[in-house]
């Protein structure tokens, strides 16, 4: 059972969605903030416009004569731009009376209530009394504090945006407007942002799903192929597009692994079939021979011959089974190596004695050049390798030929070489002679008996001992097999003691 949340596609999608959401949220917040600032600035500009106008208005109001400490020069808006509507008050020249402020009519539209948010104003006298006020000014409007620095100031109070300014003598003017309109604007803007954001998320998720599906498709192909291979179709391969993408490389690696698996299976199947074939031959002989013997009454010589043939076949089967078991054990690496320092020379000498009768039978002369060569290895295995090589050298030799066994130390290795004066091995067979069931020449197999496993076993044994087994051969001249195992550094001395 696989939950969708565990699928890579879903996870990519989830992360993708989350990232998109975060980016959009950040972007939205920033846009909102910018819009808010811009709206405020816009509002402030409006307020500034009005307070400047109002300020001009104040200057033309009648006011008290400036005190002696007051350095303020005459208002800049003096006679040249003098307002003909105001001369009486201006000319009054005495301090303003609270409530006496009059808004000049041409300024009235600036503070007109146009159904929406209306700008209001209030003007205070020097001593803090309300000089004048628009009718819609909010009730709890407080006189702003005079700041240290000069110039216009803005404040946000109770959802209102207000600008205020002080005249040098101390009158203060304030223009304000409710921020409700701006807030409505911002709300609408936020709504738009949210709508656009949602659209982008939907598009992004859809695109992401498409991308993820596209990216995952090769994975699906890989898993489908792998499933078919697991189902026994070992020749299946994952299609590789060759574009060098990560999944392509994965597919190539997997294909390589599948090919090796396929080859290993084929090798195993071939081995089994070869083994069955090799066993079938002696079984055929036994079955045919016994059927023949039983077909009619025979004399004892005939029975004896029949039994001899049967026994020969049984021995052949036994040797084949032993070889197969040896291979299986070596393949499985179940047998622990009993490594100890052993001298190739003494092992060689023993094996040479054992092969002597067979050699004598075929008139083959055995030579030895055995110098001490101590290595660390399993002596039984080394002995088996040596026997196999020697018996091959005797079997595949010409009558009256020679076999030379030598051992020596060379470059930190212990070497054992078996040289024969036989037929040699043709160059095209050399790479295969350590293969299982490989016979260099079919014509030599039946009469000499081997099933083609001896050298394969030698090779495996050598590798198990960490050594190497190599062959040199010249056709019609003979072959030289060399076993090379890492020498025991102080072994020679030890052996001598």
């Amino acid at each position: 059972m696989t939950l969708p949340i565990h699928s890579i596609r879903w996870r990519i999608q989830a992360w993708h969605g989350l990232l998109l959401l975060l980016v959009l949220a950040g972007f939205g917040a920033m846009a909102y903030h910018l819009q808010d600032t811009s709206e405020t600035r816009h509002l402030d500009a409006e307020l500034h416009l009005r307070i400047s106008a109002l300020f001009g208005n104040i200057a033309r109001q009648p006011r008290p004569v400036p005190g002696p400490g007051d350095q303020r020069p005459d208002p800049p808006d003096g006679p040249p731009e003098g307002d003909p509507d105001d001369p009486p008050e201006r000319n009054a020249g005495r301090g303003p009376r609270p409530g006496s402020f009059r808004l000049r009519p041409e300024l009235a539209p600036l503070f007109a209530s146009d159904g929406g948010s209306a700008f209001y104003y209030r003007v205070w006298t020097r001593d803090g009394a309300v000089f004048g006020s628009s009718p819609d000014a909010p009730a709890g409007l407080s006189r702003p504090e005079r700041p240290q620095s000069r110039g216009g100031l803005f404040r946000s109070v109770n959802g209102r945006r207000e600008a205020f300014e002080f005249t040098p003598p101390g009158e203060s003017a304030l223009v304000g407007v409710s921020e409700a309109g701006k807030e409505r604007e911002m709300l609408r803007f936020a709504g738009k942002l949210a709508a656009v954001g949602a659209g982008v998320i939907v598009l992004g998720l859809a695109g992401g799903w498409w991308l993820a599906s596209r990216a995952i498709r090769p994975v699906d192909a890989i898993s489908a192929t792998a499933a078919r291979i697991a189902g026994g179709r070992l020749d299946e391969r994952i299609p590789v597009s060759g574009n060098g993408s990560e999944l392509d490389r994965l597919a190539a690696v997997l294909n390589h692994a599948f090919a090796q698996l396929d080859a290993a299976f084929a090798e195993q199947a071939r081995f089994t079939s070869d083994a069955a074939h090799e066993l079938r031959t002696p079984v055929s002989v036994i079955l045919a021979q016994t059927q023949l013997a039983l077909a009619r009454p025979r004399d004892s010589d005939e029975y004896r011959e029949s039994i001899e043939i049967t026994r020969r076949s049984a021995l052949r089967m036994q040797s084949l089974i032993e070889s197969l078991l040896a291979l299986a054990r070596l393949d499985a690496r179940t047998e622990p190596a009993r490594r100890q320092p052993c001298d190739l020379a003494s092992i060689g000498r023993e094996q040479l004695d054992l092969i002597q009768p067979l050699a004598a039978e075929r008139g083959i002369v055995l030579h030895q050049e055995l110098e001490p060569a101590v290595c660390v290895a399993d002596p039984d295995r080394v002995a088996q390798i040596c026997t196999n090589l020697l018996s091959n050298a005797v079997k595949y030799n010409r009558i009256g030929g020679e076999v030379r066994l030598s051992s020596r130390r060379e470059n930190g290795h212990a070497l054992l070489t078996v040289t024969d004066t036989g037929l040699g091995i043709a160059a095209q067979h050399l790479p295969h002679i350590f293969d299982r069931f490989y016979r260099a020449d079919d014509s030599r197999n039946r009469s000499t008996g081997g099933a083609g496993l001896g050298l394969a076993i030698c090779k495996l044994l050598t590798e198990a001992e960490g050594g190497s087994l190599t062959v040199n051969s010249v056709e019609d001249r003979g072959s030289t097999f060399t076993l090379q195992i890492l020498a025991d550094e102080n072994g020679d001395a030890k052996m001598e003691n």
């Binding site: 031959t281 045919a288 079919d442």
Partner: protein, 216 residues
């Protein structure tokens, strides 16, 4: 009937050869493909038992080369028993394909069938006048009465019967009744003919002076 066995496993070759000889065949043996091909091309065998994996020339190649010249029935008898191999063998020109291990009785029966077919007969029992020859049981009756024949006499009768209506020379008779190790005495065929006439009637086998013998 003379048969060639091409087989590289000496014990198996010996066993099959002995079995077929005891069944009344003249048997030649070849231990490798080269010798097998040579013998198969040089001698008129009634059938050849051929192994597939042979030294020098393998069975399939031997068969291919043989088929360029001869129609001798070939039974492949080999441990290579996969369907692929059987198809290859039959398509190369083999008439039958048997896998080792083999039941010798079956091998003999298949050889009889091959030889029968090669001479255009389907039925194992052949009637010539009053004589009935059962090639499966290797028995002969004359007007319902069993006739006892020696192996050679039977082989000669069977060969003439299978080739009924044709004149068979003495040389042909020698070739088909003796294997390579026999040293046939020249008038031995005449002795067998004489004995067969005595047992089946003088008119049964016709002599064609200077040419040979015929039945039917």
């Amino acid at each position: 009937m003379r048969i060639l066995i091409v087989e590289d496993e000496p014990d198996f070759l010996r066993t099959v050869a002995q079995f077929l000889r005891e069944d009344g065949y003249a048997v030649d043996a070849a231990p490798d493909g080269e010798e097998g091909l040579y013998k198969a091309q040089e001698t008129e065998y009634d059938a050849i038992v051929l192994d597939a994996m042979l030294p020098y020339i393998d069975g399939f190649e031997l068969l291919r080369q043989l088929r360029l010249k001869k129609k001798t029935p070939v039974l492949m008898l080999t441990a290579r028993a996969r369907v692929r191999d059987r198809i290859q063998g039959l398509d190369t020109g083999a008439d039958d394909y048997l896998a080792k291990p083999v039941d010798l009785g079956e091998l003999a029966a298949r050889l009889r069938a091959l030889i029968r077919r090669a001479h255009g007969n389907a039925a194992p029992v052949i009637h010539v006048d009053d004589v009935e020859i059962d090639t499966a049981a290797r028995s002969v009756t004359l007007r319902g009465e069993p006739v006892v024949l020696t192996a050679r006499e039977y082989a000669l009768l069977e060969f003439l019967t299978l080739n009924r209506g044709r004149i068979i020379t003495r040389t042909q008779l020698y070739e088909h009744l003796h294997d390579e190790n026999d040293t046939p005495i020249s008038n031995l065929v005449d002795v067998h003919i004489f004995n067969l006439r005595k047992k089946l009637g003088a008119e049964f086998i016709a002599t064609h002076r200077g040419q040979g013998y015929s039945i039917g």
